[in-house]
């Protein structure tokens, strides 16, 4: 197989497996743009992943995938609400409370898995939708137009969220609250409300991200199945300079690097006559992400000046 064929095969999977990162990271962009750091994404993803598949699975409620999606979003939103209460109202240190939510989500999802599912649980999740005509276009069609609905949703969200962020009242308030909460407050913006909204939204997106793993990308659940994807998503927010568009690029870069290293493994790609040990190939996406940041000019103009700083009226 030449590289072109490989790429044509790799891209559909790249896009499919980029979606969980994309959902979670897009949510985190909004959270951070409003000045809150949520390191609980991982736990929220896990809860979303389990509740979604439990709702859909015949072992569970046997509901429609859409119901599963909504439940996952709801559960994520609830955890977001809790996170907001802790980090905004109680002004707890955000990183550590986030880690707390990660632990809690990991524990609770595994626990529910044991109690309700008892063992490995699978489901008939979202199936690929072949978009008429478009999906028939050679190569491109398979890459872009034979994906499941969540993939389309994730990528559709990018321009929408960019629009919300840059063109709407909410976006304006979010950006202001993240840059200078005191100023926003003095203009009558309800800082706490805005942050609650974004953190809850971030939770919802994390929940959906989990669902996009458990009832779309691979319709199955195992304990701790996200395996650190939540943290990667947070990292991608920094990679993307808090810009939805660039975060998408980051998710795609990371995802394609990962898929190509799998190809390198199955094709026994050799360097200097010897095959590369798998574990070293598996490092590539992580190294690449850092390297790209080093070699590309970083954009800081969107960096939320108030990130991780709780707001207390009159203390500045």
């Amino acid at each position: 197989m030449n590289f072109g064929d490989v790429l044509a095969q790799a891209l559909p999977l790249t896009i499919l497996f980029a979606t969980p990162y994309l959902f979670a990271a897009l949510g985190e962009v909004f959270v951070q743009r409003s000045g809150v750091l949520n390191l609980g994404v991982e736990g929220m993803m896990l809860m979303g992943a389990f509740t979604a598949i439990y709702a859909v699975s015949s072992k569970g409620m046997g509901a429609d995938p859409v119901v599963g999606l909504l439940i996952a979003a709801g559960v994520g939103g609830l955890m977001g609400l809790a996170m907001a209460f802790v980090s905004v109202t109680l002004q707890a240190e955000q990183g550590i409370s986030g880690i707390g939510f990660t632990l809690f989500g990991l524990g609770l999802s595994s626990l529910l898995f044991k109690l309700l599912a008892g063992g490995v649980i699978t489901a008939q999740g979202f199936q690929p939708i072949h978009i008429p005509f478009l999906s028939d276009i050679p190569v491109i069609g398979k890459i872009l137009f034979q994906q499941n609905i969540l993939v389309y949703l994730a990528f559709a969200l990018v321009p929408i969220l960019m629009w919300v962020l840059n063109r709407t009242k909410w976006g304006l308030q979010i950006r202001a609250v993240g840059q200078n909460p005191a100023a926003a407050d003095s203009m009558g913006v309800n800082v706490a409300l805005v942050r609650y909204a974004t953190v809850i939204f971030g939770g919802i997106m994390a929940g959906i991200a989990g669902a996009s793993l458990s009832i779309a990308a691979t319709p199955i659940f195992q304990e701790n199945m996200t395996e650190g994807r939540g943290f990667i998503a947070v990292a991608l927010v920094y990679f993307g300079g808090w810009s939805p568009f660039r975060v998408m690029l980051g998710a795609l870069l990371f995802s394609i690097a990962n898929n190509l290293q799998i190809w390198a493994q199955i094709l026994n790609v050799e360097i200097a006559g010897s095959t590369i040990p798998p574990n070293l190939l598996i490092m590539v996406p992580y190294i690449l992400t850092i390297a790209v940041l080093v070699f590309t000019r970083q954009r800081k103009q969107n960096e939320p000046a108030a990130l991780t700083k709780p707001f207390q009226r009159g203390e500045n």
Partner: protein
Amino acid sequence: MKSRLTFSRGDLVVALAPIVAILLALVAGGVLLLMLGADPIQAYGTMIDGAFGSQAALLRTLTRATPLLIIAVGICIAFRAGVINIGAEGQVFVGAITAVSFSLGLGATLPAILLAPLTLLAGFLAGAFWGAIPGYLKARFDVNEILSTVMMNEIAVQLLLYLLSGPLIDPAQVAAGSRIPQSAQIPEASWLARLAPPSQVHVGLFIGLAMAVVVYLLLWRTTIGYRIRAVGQNKNASRYAGISVPRYLMLALVLSGGLAGLAGAVELQGINHRVVEGFAVGYGFSGIVVALFGRLHPLGAIPSAFLFGALLVGADKMQRTMQVPSATVTALQGLIVIFVVSSDIFVRRYNARRTARAVKAAPPPAEVNQPAPEGVV
């Protein structure tokens, strides 16, 4: 500035708040246990018994607390410099794997008395190197450290697996053909002495306590620490005062990583004597939590590490005796972290009032009146 450990009402609040929080978390966790049909009172009974109930139990708690303490002390340095080091996890692995190679490689040649300390040093240096990478990237290219340390963790995991399943694999495993990913056992000379056999508690405990004191002195009594804290609190003012901000950001991550690496070596030389797949998994994150519980103060990390060690040991005991899934324990830990960190607000309020009342009061201990550095979670 001077942190004399004088016990005022403030310290009482500081001490009490987390305890109350833990109790509340346990109440919340009780719901989970009821969900499992387990009697919470009995469950927590076994938990406390498992952690403090007997001398053996206490020693276990200390055993588990040891690596967490060392990591947490390192985390304090980074966070005091305003650097969020999520990378302890990977730094522990790299420290351990380097210590193993060092001890196996030079065990035969080096004089026995030197082997243990030098192995520890090797672990420290390796961790320091692993911390230096994100440190350099931040100082030189302004690469966000959360991103780089998260990535470095994953890289470290793969590095560990690669070395354990290839270059460093136990020859016995190859001979037997079973090829289990684990290193050979390090020479006895590099082991850390056990303090109270059969318990596993070992000299590493004292290393941890020593590190806590050393780092406390470093941060609050030396010029280097002064600069690290200045950089963490106000980068601008530090620059204006002629302090090289990049250098101290870097230094903080190096020391932080070094201590994590040391923790890896200590766990290796004190407990396992070989690195295996699954070695010290999750210690890095626990270390961060311990550090923040200890209010990012090295001395605060001591009780904090003990508490967290007790939590781990007690929770395992609960899992065993009550036969509740291990997940319950993880969830419970999450709850405790959330509740304790939430309780901080009362401490901060108290301290605010107290610093304002400082007119009459004696100088407040640094550990309670220094707020988290800028940009620190």
